[in-house]
């Protein structure tokens, strides 16, 4: 768990670089470096200080923003030390046309992050790269403050990649004629409209694959910049409707931490209840997807169980998904009369039914055989920056609810299930057990539900007065454990209740990048269930 004494010790080490280049804020370190010093810093913090995870990368065009720095652009690399649970932000400041060193040699998953920022802001990294989300050959950089967008170039359908032909047929790479490329485009059920996927079989097992995202790119981050906090709160629910309070809570926490707004205890408790129920609903969706992909009729039973959770949401606020009940400084509504009794009966039903469904599924050889294969170890998971159930299935015991608990999580008794082999079967088991643990959390919170207000006093009046909020805080990164991994927001505050820059951190982005690697070695039969078990959500891939 995060420890302030250890944080102060690290603070002492970092502060040797001088006040101009280092400051600590809200339990995170911030270091400012020039591009030429970036690689040296990254090597030092990774090898000597244990910051093994690059969580996310965000770039901002500071044009017109008052700042103590002269440079126009800023890249913020957010690192996590899983050992002592500390977070470090490295801010790289530079001007137009300056070259920034790439971190791909140190962190595999920096590839997509750098490509995304390069195409959004016209940042030049010292390696060749193609666009990720936007069409190839585009000449617009939408996240620049002075960008004037016009028509985009037309994209082409992915070509089948060429394979290097080896005349010696007994060694890799095997001759081209033995390979079989298969295209999963947006019409394929395997991709569920998320992305295009070219998979190469040898011909029985997956040996290579290429994945293209951005098909649903609708400029979500740019859209959020022109909205107020409250409007953003409504919109972020749509990032993942199936687990809606997750992003709304993360966004509300981001604003509350930036402006030091206190949330009443009862509102905190209700938020935990909704977050955990959303986790249950999302896990049931993924379990249903896994069962459907492996052609088991039990998928209907998982959906039936999910229906019970949605009914609880409906009784709470009238919505089944996209609850729209989180407010800055609290909740919009309290739990209605009779809701707790309803929850208790749903809890009993889900506990009982899930065990029966699980017994029925694991008794079928076909189901087990489709989920086994494609082992992933903890080292590989770290290299790809994957979080959530996919990470824990590979044996890493890390959950933000334990490592950086917020609200009442540190007082609640629950366990974190951890897998061994990192296969789809491990991910299935982890999700199943997490449902039971989430229900355990909700039961404890409801048994000890605090009394009192559900929204901070005076917050709604203050929202009408833009001078009521001021903060000395610059960048904030606030995240929480979503059903599929770490989800949160980078936020740089602007004027008039509007964000200057928002960067959405979604678990699906890292999962999609790692997916071609995770799927290696699977057979054609195992591929759909393997992909379904990752829980990649299409809207989370959008920016």
């Amino acid at each position: 768990m995060f420890n302030w004494k250890e944080f102060e010790k690290s603070q002492h080490i970092f502060s040797t670089v001088g006040d101009k280049f280092y400051h600590a804020d809200n339990g995170q370190h911030h270091v400012h470096v020039r591009p030429k010093d970036l690689l040296r810093w990254v090597e030092m913090i990774r090898d000597d200080l244990g910051y093994l995870t690059l969580v996310d990368l965000v770039g901002v065009d500071r044009l017109g923003l008052s700042s103590k720095y002269d440079e126009r652009f800023e890249l913020v690399y957010h690192f996590l030390n899983m050992g002592n649970h500390q977070r470090l932000n490295i801010h790289v400041l530079f001007n137009d046309n300056e070259i920034v060193p790439s971190l791909v040699q140190s962190f595999n998953h920096a590839d997509w992050m750098e490509r995304e920022q390069a195409e959004m802001l016209k940042i030049i990294f010292d390696r060749p790269q193609s666009t990720l989300i936007l069409p190839q050959g585009q000449q617009n950089w939408p996240m620049r403050k002075d960008s004037k967008m016009s028509a985009w170039p037309t994209e082409k359908i992915l070509d089948v990649p060429k394979i290097q032909i080896n005349p010696n047929k007994s060694e890799e790479p095997w001759p081209e004629e033995s390979y079989q490329w298969k295209r999963f485009d947006v019409f394929s059920p395997e991709t569920m409209g998320n992305f295009e996927w070219m998979v190469c079989f040898d011909p029985s097992k997956v040996v290579d694959s290429h994945l293209r995202i951005g098909l649903h790119h609708e400029g979500f981050e740019k859209l959020l910049e022109s909205r107020s906090w409250i409007q953003v709160l409504q919109l972020v629910d749509k990032i993942h409707l199936g687990a809606a309070p997750t992003y709304a809570t993360a966004w509300a926490r981001t604003i509350e931490e930036t402006y030091r707004i206190k949330v009443p205890e009862r509102a905190q408790a209700i938020r935990i209840v909704m977050l955990e129920l959303a986790r249950v609903a999302e896990h049931l969706t993924v379990l249903s997807d896994i069962a459907l992909a492996s052609k088991q009729n039990e998928f209907r039973l998982f959906l039936n169980a999910r229906e019970k959770v949605y009914e609880l949401f409906e009784k709470f606020c009238g919505h089944r998904q996209g609850l729209n009940q989180i407010n800055i400084g609290g909740m919009r509504e309290d739990l209605p009369y009779g809701w707790i009794t309803e929850y208790q009966s749903v809890n009993d039903i889900i506990f009982k039914n899930l065990r029966t469904i699980h017994k029925s599924l694991i008794g079928q050889k076909n189901f087990r055989s489709q989920l086994e294969g494609g082992d992933v170890d903890a080292q590989q998971v770290l290299q790809w920056g994957v979080s959530g159930p996919a990470m824990r299935a590979a044996g890493l015991n890390f959950d933000l609810r334990k490592s950086q608990p917020f609200y009442f999580y540190q007082d609640i008794d629950f366990d974190i299930p951890v897998g061994i082999y990192g296969t789809a079967y491990d991910r299935y088991l982890i999700r199943l057990e997490e449902i039971f643990q989430s229900l355990r959390i909700v039961t404890q919170v409801i048994d000890n539900l605090p009394l009192g207000e559900i929204i901070s006093a005076g917050i709604q009046e203050a929202m009408l007065d833009e001078t009521a909020f001021s903060s000395d805080r610059d960048w904030q990164f606030i995240s929480l454990e979503s059903p599929n991994g770490e989800a949160g927001f980078f936020h740089l505050a602007g004027a008039d209740f509007s964000p200057y820059r928002i960067k959405i951190k979604t678990p699906s982005f890292a999962l999609a990048q790692a997916a071609p690697y995770f799927m290696k070695g699977l057979t054609q039969d195992q591929l759909p269930a393997g992909m379904a078990s990752l829980g990649i959500r299409r809207q989370e891939l959008d920016r």
Binding site: L134, P135, N140, M149, S150, A151, W152, P153, T154, E155, K156, I157, D185, V186, F187, S188, P189, M192, G193, G214, L215, H216, H217, E218, G219, L223, D237, K238, L241, G242, T285, S288, F299, R300, L303, N304, R306, E307, Y310, H319, R320, Q321, G322, N324, R538, Q539, D542
Partner: protein
């Protein structure tokens, strides 16, 4: 009026807002709620009803033609979500032109399964089936 014996075939295309609600219809609570049979299909060419939010992003435009050609032969569009309202006059996101298309609209960001079932019934009637 034609009497339909085959199930109504529904294809879900690029409607991220409701993608998690559609599977609910496969659960026991809703699967037999309609008087006619229906099923999801994996290719748009087989579909009677195409579910779409009508938003065409730059990359998606290469696939949108395939769906639109299906709509132009008289199949019904089930227009979902209110994403279109966000992207009116957007510089690069295009919206599907609804003129001369047969469509049923399900408004709102969050839609109940009952509304989806009702919309499916409307689509069924628009196709001329009894």
């Amino acid at each position: 009026m034609e009497i339909k014996t085959q199930p109504l075939k529904i294809y879900l295309f690029s409607g991220p807002l409701l993608s998690t609600e559609w599977p609910s219809l496969l659960g026991d609570k809703y699967v037999h709620a309609l008087k006619f049979s229906w099923e999801f299909v994996n290719v748009p060419e087989e579909a009677d009803v195409i579910v779409w939010d009508g938003v065409i992003s730059p990359k998606l435009s290469i696939y949108a033609d395939r769906v639109m050609s299906r709509l132009q032969v008289g199949k019904v569009l089930l227009l979902t979500g209110e994403a279109r309202t966000l992207y009116e006059n957007h510089p690069f996101v295009k919206l599907l032109q609804l003129d001369q298309l047969r469509y049923v609209e399900v408004p709102g960001w969050s839609v109940l399964p009952e509304e989806l079932l009702e919309a499916m019934t409307s689509c069924y009637q628009k196709l001329g089936y009894v």
